[in-house]
């Protein structure tokens, strides 16, 4: 490789982003634009008996008022990942709900006005007659007899029942084990909270009868496909989707939302006026998909020496009132199949009930299924260690899949023969132990305890599945994904020697414009500054699946790699012609074509590009221009791993948890840009720590989101955390030519359990084995004081 991959260069896009020059959705103003405000259901479960819009229509500035009935010709939004037994009960949102609502915040009407204020003012004049129905919000209680029923086609509110692994074998292991530890755990619901909330602008052209839709999406091509082919019933060519700069997504902007369809449909009703809708933070909290929300019981079996022999898991996954775009795939494929973690667990069985409740939709959120799996496995390992009186690092080490066992097929059965690609789990743990000075830490802990202070050390050794792609994996064998999953890249070397890379990926904070430029520049032997990365507009980019599942570098990046390789082959042919040499005699190195052994007489890639573009002297049969497009479908996913260590001190008199140190040792394979990887790890860790200590979406029994604002929902704040320490090991992935594994979600997947394990370790003197997240000071205080000795 050349000189650009592996360089910790600053992000090319940042000057634009941090000086306010970048245009986010709400920055876009178009002539004649009108503004939409959505009326949302105040009830979590209700039949809509009638809606009277007449008074709202006569309010000042109002251009139009519409209800679900106005868009009855549009199909319900599709559920694109119908994993595990979602058969005839995929209940999904409509552009606006017509007959009933199943969660607070569902859109029932829209006011369009000359200003956003006027639209908001008119909302109160829409009169909706609701028949309010009883509610259920808990994933497990929804399945119990007597629970309110949300959908006729889903008895007991069960949307799906899904299993993986071997039940009989796992039961046998549990029966034969020296110890079995049982634990009930909750993985609480989270509100993703991207800084840039969701929005869309719809523009219909009455002349060409087509649509342009700007949207805050992580995948504009998929949005176009789903909106045209599934909702509107028309060809893709009738719509252009554009994601402008998008300020954070965390998965929540993968999905098709009703409002994106609404702005397009409303624009058509209004003869083509551009219609903008931008959600408020309140709307973002009630109406944008949430993450996690599992109610789980598990049993883990082990021998007395710490060898884990079985893991049995039963999970109720809350999917909300209706299904978001890929909701069923998250607690199944991306959760159950990763329950082996980094361990050689011979027997695994997982059963998942996906249930409907009167709550907001739940779908992928940073890590998506894998944080839930990793949290469970790492809590289970610590519980085994606690039960056996062993050091938690020793139980981990004893059960690690050894490096020579790769490629490794876990008992949780990843599907279709996919195996963990490569790993050196003990290597990451060893490095973490050395960096944290583990031996002395335990001594320090001993001293602290003697002095009456509660210090805790928590570990998380994790593996995740990312670079989510292989079409043959997700698209086959009943896993329910409705399409392939690959990625595209077009690379052009223009006659000035400047390179344009066009990707089907969609950056929303990851730094694609830098890392992807580094890949092309590295291979072409050029300056990173000479490579421009274009993206995010279905007009002018090849079809691509977008950005999520830590897939942009591994899948999208490899597509670029392959395109550049083909361009280099062509450049060698043209260069040889220019050098009057035979193509087989030339080589391409460091940006130059030359005859092997004679680097002094060379043609630079820029010279070749010019020759290819002007095209008056090309080898016979050669097309002009250096331009190639790749559609890359990898043979496997990638499996980053690592060990995180968290050190906490618990204030026993208040229950407050202070993180004293946090160390992340991650192996993301080869790094394209270590600075960006570091940033991803920092951000990811903070999101996991946020889940562990502070965040939690709360619905009351009536289905009202009581954590509906940032005054109530506790996001991590910078001053709550110490500087995160990062380091890495490097185990290249054999899956792709650059050996990269992906880094976007690793921090989040690894971190929550490191914190919880640390707190439980701190509280070990009180015999505490588990506290559910978030570890609020009250919960911690109550745990300390519930054993009768008052913590004193």
């Amino acid at each position: 490789m050349g000189k650009a991959i592996g360089q910790a260069i600053k992000r090319k896009e940042d000057p634009r982003l941090i000086t306010g020059q970048a245009k986010y959705l709400d920055d876009i103003q178009l002539p004649g634009m009108v503004y939409a405000a959505v009326l949302r259901s105040p009830y979590a479960h209700a039949n809509i008996k009638s809606i009277d819009t007449s008074e709202a229509e006569s309010q000042p500035g109002v251009v139009g008022v519409f209800t679900g009935k106005d868009f009855a010709d549009l199909n319900p939004l599709p559920c694109a990942w119908q994993a595990g037994g979602v058969n005839n009960n995929a209940n999904t949102p409509r552009t606006l709900e017509i007959d009933k609502v199943t969660f607070t915040g569902a859109g029932v009407a829209v006011v369009v006005a000359e200003s956003r204020y006027a639209a908001e003012d008119a909302l109160q004049y829409i009169h909706v007659d609701y028949e309010v129905l009883p509610t259920v919000v808990d994933a497990k209680k929804a399945t119990e007899p007597g629970a309110p029923q949300l959908h006729e086609n889903a008895p007991n509110n069960i949307c799906m029942e899904w299993t993986c692994g071997d039940e009989a074998g796992t039961d046998k292991a549990l029966g034969e084990a020296d110890v079995v530890v049982k634990q009930a755990i909750r993985n609480q619901r989270l509100l993703p909270t991207p800084m840039d909330s969701r929005g869309a602008i719809g523009i219909y052209s009455p002349v060409s009868e087509d649509y342009t839709v700007y949207m805050t999406s992580q995948c504009p091509h998929i949005m176009r496909l789903l909106m045209t082919a599934f909702v509107f019933g028309m060809p893709e060519s009738k719509m252009r989707c554009i994601s402008p700069h998008v300020g954070g997504g965390f998965g929540t902007k993968i999905f098709l939302y009703p409002e994106y369809c609404m702005v397009a449909a409303v624009s058509k009703k209004l003869g083509g006026l551009p219609v903008k809708w931008m959600e408020t933070r309140r709307e973002n909290y009630v109406a944008t998909s949430h993450g996690r929300d599992h109610v789980t019981e598990f049993e883990v079996a082990a021998k007395s020496d710490g060898t884990i022999t079985g893991l049995k898991v039963e999970t109720y996954a809350n999917l909300g009132g209706i299904l978001s775009t890929i909701a069923p795939g998250i607690p199944t494929t991306l959760y159950g199949r990763m329950l082996s973690g980094v361990y050689k667990i011979p027997n695994i069985y997982c059963k998942v009930y996906g249930t409907y409740t009167n709550t907001g939709m739940v779908d992928a959120y940073r890590g998506a299924g894998r944080p839930e799996a990793s949290y469970l496995v790492e809590r289970a390992v610590d519980l085994v260690a606690q039960e056996l009186g062993m050091d938690p690092t020793e139980v981990r080490r004893k059960n690690f899949i050894p490096p020579e066992a790769f490629p490794y097929a876990p008992a949780s059965n990843i599907l279709n023969g996919l195996k963990y690609d490569s790993g050196n789990y003990a290597g990451a743990l060893d490095k973490a132990l050395e960096l944290i000075d583990y031996k002395n830490l335990r001594k320090e802990q001993e001293e602290a305890r003697k002095a009456g202070r509660l210090m805790g050390i928590g570990f998380s050794s994790y593996v995740e599945i990312c670079g989510v792609a292989p079409s043959a994996w997700v698209g086959l064998n009943g896993e329910g994904w409705g399409a392939g999953l690959w990625e595209s890249a077009n690379v052009r070397v223009h006659l000035t020697g400047q390179v344009v890379v066009t990707t089907g990926s969609q950056p929303h904070g990851q730094g694609h414009e830098t890392t992807m430029a580094q890949i092309a520049a590295d291979l072409l032997g050029m300056d990173v500054a000479d490579v421009r990365v274009e993206h995010s507009d279905t007009l002018g980019t090849p079809f691509g699946y977008g950005t999520y599942g830590s897939r942009s570098a591994t899948v999208g990046g490899t597509a670029i790699y392959n395109s550049v390789q083909k361009i280099i082959e062509k450049a060698k042919k043209i260069g040889a012609h220019m050098l009057e040499a035979a193509p087989e005699d030339v080589t391409f190195e460091d940006g130059k074509v030359f005859v092997k052994g004679s680097p002094d007489k060379a043609k630079t890639i820029q010279e070749v590009a010019l020759a290819a573009a002007v095209a008056y002297d090309l080898p016979a049969g050669t097309e002009p221009f250096l331009d190639d497009t790749t559609y890359y479908d990898p043979p496997n996913c990638t499996y980053p791993f690592g060990t995180h260590v968290c050190i906490v001190e618990v204030d026993k008199d208040s229950g407050h948890v202070q993180i004293k140190r946090y160390l992340a040792v991650d192996d993301v394979g080869k790094k394209i840009n270590p600075l960006i990887v570091d940033g991803q790890i920092h951000g990811g860790v903070v999101q996991g720590v946020g889940q562990a200590l502070w965040e939690g979406a709360m619905y009351d029994d009536n289905g009202q989101l009581v954590s509906g604002s940032l005054m109530d929902y506790a996001l991590p704040k910078a001053h709550y955390l110490p500087m995160i320490e990062t380091d890495s090991t490097e185990t290249p992935s054999p899956v792709n030519p650059m050996g990269i594994k992906g880094a976007g979600e690793a921090g989040t997947i690894a971190s929550a359990q490191a914190v919880v394990n640390a707190v439980v370790d701190a509280l070990a003197p009180y015999g505490i084995k588990h506290i559910d997240m978030p570890l609020t000071p009250q919960k911690v205080w109550e745990a300390i004081h519930s054993n009768g000795n008052g913590g004193n």
Binding site: T280, R282, D651, L693, M711, D712, P777, Q778
Partner: protein
């Protein structure tokens, strides 16, 4: 986050503000706007008119006079926290102000607005109460002064009349061997006090306690004055055990507030812990 329609007036003097308040029913005074504007954006408050007093210079600044310190209502939290006069002669108020919100909030939010809004979880009420502060009010009938103990009536409710302007807060300068402390247990979402403890401890030359005061934010609908704890300390030598015992035996808080993050009974437990810590810190600083 789109407020309902409202009229806007700017007052150039306190007298003009009072006149505008009389002319416009249900109008609200706008100072720093850090409580009012968010409430309006959520349409929880829909005042028909705002009267902006933010540019009335006479309401801004810290002055001292004969053992007492007067802080103009429009003095922003950052200026209260950074005031040399307050830091040396009434450090409790400066310390409490330094705990309000974040840096941006502290440069915009005002002490008068904060106290007039009377958010029970805000940082200033307990400090003003513990200091025995006085609230200066001006209305059509002239000025009046209300002791902090009488000012806070209920959740978001004070003795401030609809046509009055809160003009200043007066607090005594500390004298002799007096130490103060404000300790805050922060609500992780809002940044407000889940429990804030303000303590004042004065010592005699022999080290015994000459007087004490202990008040809390965040636990009850109005700042709680733990006078029984303070009384139990007077005359005692304040070693740790004495303070712990005084708090354990005398701190009782009725009707604590709770939310989904921290229940009322738990907040009382936190108050006990923070009472001990604040009193010890104040003692150490005396």
């Amino acid at each position: 986050m789109y407020p309902a329609k409202f009229d806007y007036y700017r007052a150039s003097s306190v007298q003009e503000a009072i006149q505008l308040l009389q002319e416009h029913e249900d109008a609200k005074l706008l100072a720093g706007g850090h409580s009012l504007i968010p409430a309006m954006k959520l349409r929880l408050a829909q005042p028909p008119a705002l009267i902006d007093i933010g540019r009335i210079a006479e309401l801004r600044g810290v002055t001292q006079d004969n053992g007492s310190i007067k802080v103009g209502a429009l003095t922003v939290h950052a200026d209260v926290a950074a005031s040399d006069v307050l830091q040396s002669q009434c450090p409790l108020l400066a310390e409490a102000a330094s705990n309000v919100g974040d840096r941006q909030v502290r440069h915009k939010g005002t002490i008068g607005g904060n106290l007039a809004h009377a958010d029970p979880a805000s940082d200033l009420p307990a400090a003003v109460l513990a200091l025995g502060g006085t609230i200066h009010l001006l209305g059509p009938g002239g000025s009046r002064q209300v002791a902090a103990a009488d000012f806070f009536l209920d959740l978001l409710a004070t003795d401030l009349h609809e046509d009055e302007v809160l003009t200043a807060i007066e607090v005594p300068a500390i004298s002799g061997k007096t130490g103060t402390a404000y300790l805050k247990f922060e609500h992780p979402a809002s940044g407000y006090a889940l429990c804030g403890a303000a303590a004042v401890v004065s010592l005699n030359d022999d080290g015994t306690c000459a007087g004490a005061s202990l008040c809390f934010n965040g636990v009850t609908a109005t700042p709680h004055n733990a006078s029984a704890v303070a009384a139990a300390l007077v005359g005692k030598t304040l070693d740790d055990a004495t303070i712990d015992q005084a708090v354990n035996a005398n701190l009782s808080i009725a009707d604590p507030m709770g939310d989904m993050y921290a229940s009322g009974p738990y907040r009382v437990e936190v108050a006990k812990t923070y009472a001990k810590r604040a009193l010890k810190a104040a003692r150490d600083r005396a």
